[in-house]
């Protein structure tokens, strides 16, 4: 295998070509993603920003195989990506996702330990060879959780702890690309900093690449290497993070940056 990373070309998705009864009553299809090209190289953090409804989540769900595109190609290390189920196991493991809502991304009836172990049941090849309980404890420790968390259900965990369990579940399969859809947006600022720190540590220690979706430009500037700006399903600008923040070229990017608030210089 080579390490071309993730390549997305000409991605198109539309929703709402509804299955109205006898073909009637359906709404016209809405293009959520209208021709997106995107690359995430190995070890790189690429952020996707844009207003709500611009298609960020849809792109993410195509990458992990939850949504089947109407058109376009996705590949990882030159292996074409279809729906999750149709991918070779190695690719299934390589691409994992962290969701926005920390609570609803964990099954409320399962303990944190069972949630992490489920990943290994699905992919025995990634399962630790020795004691699974010890492996769970190590993984939880890696995301900053106490071993006692393994026996607790999501309702007994805080939002930040749930998000750490989510990250541990994704890391259990030793992925190479982590898709984070607004993974820190629902967290309180003090907890958000913890999770950002964790994600950047994980990237450093595992050489992970990330597709990091967020509407918070401040967070993006802290963590991203490259930024893709989306609007109405299209990429309007992509550039290395610092270039984009200091020399935005597209008017929409400039409008986004102007509207963003900062603590400093607010007294107007």
């Amino acid at each position: 295998m080579n390490d071309a990373g993730l390549t997305v070309r000409g991605l198109r998705v539309s929703f709402g070509g509804s299955r109205g009864m006898f073909g009637r009553g359906g709404r016209p299809a809405v293009a959520a993603v209208a021709g997106v090209d995107l690359d995430v190289a190995a070890g790189e953090i690429v952020a996707v920003v844009g207003e709500s409804g611009s298609g960020k989540t849809t792109v993410a769900r195509c990458v992990v195989g939850l949504v089947t595109p109407d058109d376009g190609t996705l590949s990882y290390d030159d292996v074409p990506l279809g729906s999750t189920r149709s991918r070779p196991p190695a690719i299934q493991r390589a691409i994992q996702m962290v969701f926005q809502d920390p609570r609803s991304s964990l099954n409320p009836r399962m303990t944190a330990g069972a949630i992490v172990r489920e990943a290994w049941q699905a992919h025995p090849a990634a399962a630790p060879s020795g004691d699974q309980d010890a492996a769970v404890r190590n993984l939880l420790a890696e995301v900053g959780l106490d071993a006692s968390v393994a026996g607790r259900r999501p309702s007994a965990l805080s939002g930040g702890q749930c998000q750490r369990v989510s990250i541990a579940r994704a890391l259990a399969l030793r992925p190479r690309l982590l898709v984070c859809d607004e993974a820190v947006s629902a967290l309180d600022v003090s907890v958000q900093a913890q999770i950002l720190r964790l994600l950047s540590d994980v990237r450093r220690d595992h050489g992970l690449s990330m597709l990091f979706i967020s509407h918070d430009l401040g967070v993006v500037r802290q963590i991203a290497d490259r930024v893709v700006v989306m609007r109405s399903g299209e990429v309007v600008e992509q550039a290395p993070a610092e270039d984009l923040f200091t020399r935005p070229t597209h008017p929409y990017t400039r409008a986004l940056l102007d509207a963003a608030l900062d603590l400093e210089g607010a007294a107007s």
Partner: protein, 305 residues
């Protein structure tokens, strides 16, 4: 990171102020406690019926084929020709009404349990496939349900039961023919909303097999609404079974059922009110109690009909 590393914070007590203040408004508990116990009265009554259905037939000696001319239409509390007391009287051919109620409870409850089980299994299977798998499976299920719902359920049951040799199995099949629809709809709705939950998406991203997703991430969450549905369905089945046997359809003459007893008493309503009244009361009490429990469960789990 989550457990702090500061030396000062190794033990965290709890502020007395968070728990102490006596709050007068929150103390009026006794009235609520009585109400709280009353909520469980229907549960107790149902438990009584279940006990009666299981143990009762062992205690009463009754044969529907044995009639006794001398004991016809005895009023409640009379002494029969063999010296025993007919607490709830006897019917037009001298059979004990109390014994019929006890045996009828077993018939009713057996049929209701079997029917609800069959309905739940079919309904859950159809609902899960329609709701979770979606696509053409959902379309087929939805059309089937639309067609079946257009038939009045009890008429369909009468037709089915009337076409075959009477037996308990036929009654169960007849009542299940449309009974599963309620379950299928509740389960489909729940599965449809669960499919979009992030924990299900997470499992799909990890390529967890579809069967495990259904059993682990979807099924446990339909249990509540299904139980609520099952109690309501139970009440309906008890009523419908009584209706069928009142009409003399479905059950063989050797079976004892409340509906048959009520029907047998209807000719004597003016001279022997007890024959129809007591089994009718037994039926009504069970249906009302099951309905009350069902309402409580529905309120708790939000299962929609």
């Amino acid at each position: 990171m989550t457990t702090t590393s500061h030396p000062v914070s190794t033990s965290v007590g709890h502020d007395a102020a968070t728990t102490t203040p006596p709050l007068p408004e929150m103390r009026r508990r006794s009235a609520r406690r009585v109400l709280g116990w009353l909520r469980f009265l229907p549960h107790a009554v149902i438990a009584g019926y279940l006990f009666l259905a299981v143990v009762g037939p062992l205690l009463v000696d009754y044969d529907p084929m044995v009639t006794s001319i001398t004991d016809r239409l005895l009023s409640p509390g009379s002494t029969t020709s063999d010296g025993s007391t007919a607490w709830l009287g006897t019917d037009g051919v001298g059979r004990d009404v109390l014994a019929q109620i006890v045996l009828g409870a077993r018939t009713s409850i057996t049929i209701a349990v079997l029917t609800v089980t069959v309905c739940a299994v079919i309904g859950i299977a159809v609902g899960l496939v329609a709701g979770y798998v979606g696509g053409w499976a959902d379309t087929v299920a939805a059309r089937l349900i639309d067609v079946l719902i257009a038939f009045p359920g009890i008429l369909l049951a009468i037709v089915i039961a009337g076409l075959f040799r009477p037996s308990i199995a036929i009654v169960v099949i007849a009542l299940s023919a449309v009974g599963w629809i309620g379950f299928a709809r509740v389960v489909r709705g729940t599965a449809l909303s669960l499919r979009e939950r992030d924990w299900v998406s997470a499992a799909r991203v990890m390529a967890v097999p579809r069967r495990s997703i259904l059993t682990r991430h979807v099924l446990p969450f339909v249990a509540g609404p299904v139980v609520a549905m099952a109690t309501l369905e139970f009440a309906l089945v008890v009523l419908a079974e009584a209706g069928l046997s009142f009409l003399g359809i479905g059950l063989p003459p050797t079976a004892v059922s409340w509906g048959q007893t009520v029907a047998a008493g209807k000719e004597y309503l003016e001279i022997a009110w007890w024959i129809s009244t007591f089994p009718g009361l037994a039926l009504a009490l069970l249906v009302v109690c099951v309905g009350l429990v069902g309402d409580q469960l529905t309120a708790r789990y939000g299962g929609k009909r």
